[in-house]
């Protein structure tokens, strides 16, 4: 039973860690499907993480925090759109600038507002997203009632109940939002007119333009959706996964999300599996450090590097070919 409990706990933390990756990955999916490369996912998440935590700390309301996070992320999205759509600048350079802007501004503003060395005050109570308890699931409430720790209650029950309590129940609402975004994204992209146009604008913007649909408008819409999702991802990091903002708290998650996006070859369902895989790697690295496989020790750094190595292998085309949207990275110039 002990082994099973460990397994369930690792999978539980996989879901928690995969959530920000998934949100950011879907964010990138919208943007890149519309032909706007976005390596600024990291920066947008970071900016949102700070503003959501800051507003939640000041007002005591996590929902206001979430809104502030989304708004902050949208401002950076607008900047990216401004540079890469309106002024037809280099999208990659704009992304790099956004990452640095977020990394510097968050600490600068945090220091100016809270004077705690670039962090926000710790969040508690209404300032954080509570975890949702499903009916009949074992959670902290049961532990309080019986006066025994959750892990003890868990080992007393059967496997199915354990999986239900740990994996399905007990997450913050943003986790469910993230996973519901997967079918929704699939439906929007492949079953609606907007989705068809969005994909077309990433493959052949001239054709969309000829059909009388605004390329600029569609691309701005995609970049805005990307901003909203990155905003939710950042708010999740600071107000659900952790209790407050700390300097550089995204820790490369935006780039892992980018890796997952390539790994998934720009498809929503595959994106979910890729994010779960990379979340699992993080969860395992967090729990076990060095893994001993019968004499051969896998150092923890291999786990850290594995998402990036896998992405390079995929990019190299050794496991199927990752073909990005055809017009990705190209500013659209209307013919006159």
């Amino acid at each position: 039973m002990d082994f099973f409990l460990t397994l369930i706990q690792v999978l539980d933390s996989t879901i928690r860690l995969a959530t920000p990756l998934l949100l950011a990955c879907l964010a990138g999916l919208y943007s890149e499907r519309a032909g706007i490369f976005d390596i600024g996912l990291e920066g947008k998440m970071l900016m949102s993480a700070f503003f959501s935590a800051a507003v939640a700390a000041v007002t005591g309301s996590v929902w206001l925090g979430l809104l502030a996070g989304i708004a902050a992320s949208l401002v950076l999205s607008a900047l990216h759109g401004f540079a890469s759509i309106t002024f037809r600048g280099n999208q990659l350079i704009s992304g790099v600038a956004i990452n640095f802007l977020a990394s510097g501004m968050t600490v600068l503003v945090a220091q100016s507002w809270f004077k705690q060395g670039g962090r926000t005050p710790s969040l508690f109570g209404e300032g954080r997203f509570e975890s949702a308890e499903f009916p009949y699931a074992i959670g902290p409430e049961d532990a309080e009632l019986t006066g025994r720790p959750v892990s003890e209650l868990m080992s007393d029950t059967n496997a199915l109940h354990m999986a239900y309590s740990e994996l399905l129940s007990g997450h913050s609402i943003l986790v469910y939002v993230a996973f519901l975004m997967v079918p929704l994204t699939w439906w929007i992209l492949f079953r609606t007119r907007f989705g068809l146009r969005l994909r077309a604008v990433g493959e052949n913007p001239a054709a969309v333009d000829t059909a009388g649909v605004s390329v600029v408008g569609l691309r701005y819409a995609a970049v805005a959706i990307c901003g909203v999702l990155c905003g939710i991802a950042g708010a999740y990091l600071a107000t659900a996964l952790q209790a407050g903002f700390v300097k550089e708290m995204t820790a490369g998650r935006g780039f892992i999300a980018l890796a997952a996006l390539i790994f998934a070859k720009w498809r929503p369902w595959h994106a979910m599996w890729a994010c779960l895989l990379f979340g699992l790697l993080q969860a395992v690295a967090l729990r076990f450090q060095n893994i001993d496989l019968g004499g051969v020790v896998i150092p923890v750094q291999v786990m850290d590097a594995l998402p990036y190595i896998l992405t390079v292998v995929i990019l190299a085309g050794f496991v199927g070919k990752a073909i990005p949207p055809r017009a990705g990275g190209e500013p659209y110039v209307k013919e006159r």
């Binding site: 390596i39 900047l79 401004f82 540079a83 890469s84 002024f87 037809r88 600048g89 280099n90 999208q91 990659l92 350079i93 704009s94 790099v96 600038a97 956004i98 990452n99 640095f100 802007l101 990394s103 510097g104 501004m105 600490v107 600068l108 503003v109 220091q111 100016s112 004077k115 670039g118 490369g252 780039f255 980018l258 890796a259 390539i262 150092p299 750094q301 291999v302 850290d304 590097a305 990036y308 190595i309 992405t311 390079v312 990019l315 190299a316 085309g317 990752a322 990005p324």
Partner: protein, 364 residues
């Protein structure tokens, strides 16, 4: 017909972009409740007001010259090398291995060996993304980003599990032996009665960096290879028509770029820390992007931009010391410089082009 005179492209646009970045930075300082003029004063006295300050400014500038040149060479072939950070880390590994494994009799020979090792290691780290771009079409921006993270994990492993001296808790290599310590500006320029650059880390690598500027200039504008790189960067189809192999140019340009980024390690690892520590590069690889953009990918421009960023780095450290403005201010300034000189280039360029066209019409 040229839309603008050359001087406007080379001088006017960078200066306007820089001005915009400066104005915004000043607004940021105002917004967090500090006085921008006071801040500039502190930065100037801290970074340029003493030989000590200059010693730090030039030390940082040395790092940025190397990484800036690295990005610039890749830019000439229209390749965006974001991997300078990882390549510089690997360069550091090369330097550490060379300095620790051979009992060098004198620093001059050790410096030559360290230069070679850092360049080989940096180039090797750039080689895989270069090969994948050239042969398999994998986007070099993504692969070099991934290689930065892989380099960080690899270096972490090497320092924690392999190169850490026994009994030490610190994830770092042993100190390099006395014989390979590079002469600092203090030992080079001080006389018995007048000690200058006291305790500052600027060292002989600065002159290696200046040499590298000349070599890169000669390479890009005075050799056949440089011509091919520029031709390829201007128009791939044109280059192919002229018999230039895209695969060859992509790989060679990236190898040179990686070697230059790796070469930075002789300054920060061999010259300053005198051992290899975690995060030795401190983001210098990324600043190379800002430096190359601002320097318009020309070695002289890179040199000037690196000096400016060296000043910002040292000035920013002084600000953090004397005021409540954290060091991250320079990250914001760096972001604004990249934004205005890189991504928003057209915002400055388009109105200027219109202006020059109107002026030309007026005079004709």
């Amino acid at each position: 017909m040229e839309k603008m005179p050359k001087w406007a492209d080379v001088v006017l646009i960078p200066v306007i972009s820089l001005l915009l970045a400066t104005i915004l930075s000043a607004l940021v300082i105002l917004a967090i409740g500090e006085d921008p003029i006071e801040a500039v004063n502190l930065m100037v006295t801290g970074a340029l007001g003493s030989t000590y300050g200059w010693g730090y400014t030039l030390y940082y500038a040395t790092n940025f010259i190397f990484t800036g040149l690295a990005v610039a060479v890749a830019f000439h072939a229209r390749l965006f090398n974001i991997g300078g950070e990882g390549q510089a880390m690997l360069g550091g590994l090369g330097v550490a291995i060379v300095c620790l494994s051979v009992p060098w009799p004198h620093w001059t020979i050790a410096l030559l060996a360290a230069c070679a090792a850092s360049m080989i290691f940096g180039a090797a780290w750039a080689a895989i993304p270069a090969y994948l771009q050239a042969k398999r079409g994998s986007h070099i921006v993504i692969t070099t980003i991934m290689f930065n993270f892989i380099a960080a994990a690899f270096l972490n492993y090497m320092l924690v599990n392999v190169m850490r001296p026994q009994g030490s808790q610190d994830p770092a290599t042993a100190r390099f032996p006395e014989a390979v310590h590079l002469p600092t500006f203090q030992s080079m320029f001080s006389s018995a009665e007048n000690i200058v650059f006291r305790g500052a880390p600027a060292n002989i690598s600065f002159f290696v960096a200046i040499l590298a500027c000349f070599v890169v200039w000669a390479l890009i504008w005075r050799t056949r290879l440089g011509y091919e790189i520029r031709a390829y960067g201007h128009s791939e189809t044109g280059a192919v028509y002229a018999g230039i192999s895209p695969v060859r140019i992509t790989i060679i340009a990236m190898l040179i770029s990686g070697a230059l980024a790796g070469l930075m390690a002789i300054n920060n690892v061999m010259g300053e820390a005198e051992r290899l520590v975690l995060n030795a590069t401190e983001g210098a690889g990324f600043i190379g992007i800002a430096v190359a953009l601002m320097g318009r990918s020309h070695p002289f421009g890179v040199f000037l931009a690196a000096l400016l960023f060296g000043f910002l780095y040292q000035g920013g450290a002084e600000l953090a010391l004397w005021t409540s403005i954290p060091r991250e201010l320079i990250v914001v300034i760096q972001a604004l410089v990249i934004l205005f000189t890189g991504a928003l280039d057209n915002m400055v360029r388009m109105p200027l082009e219109k202006l020059f066209m109107a002026l030309r019409k007026g005079s004709a």
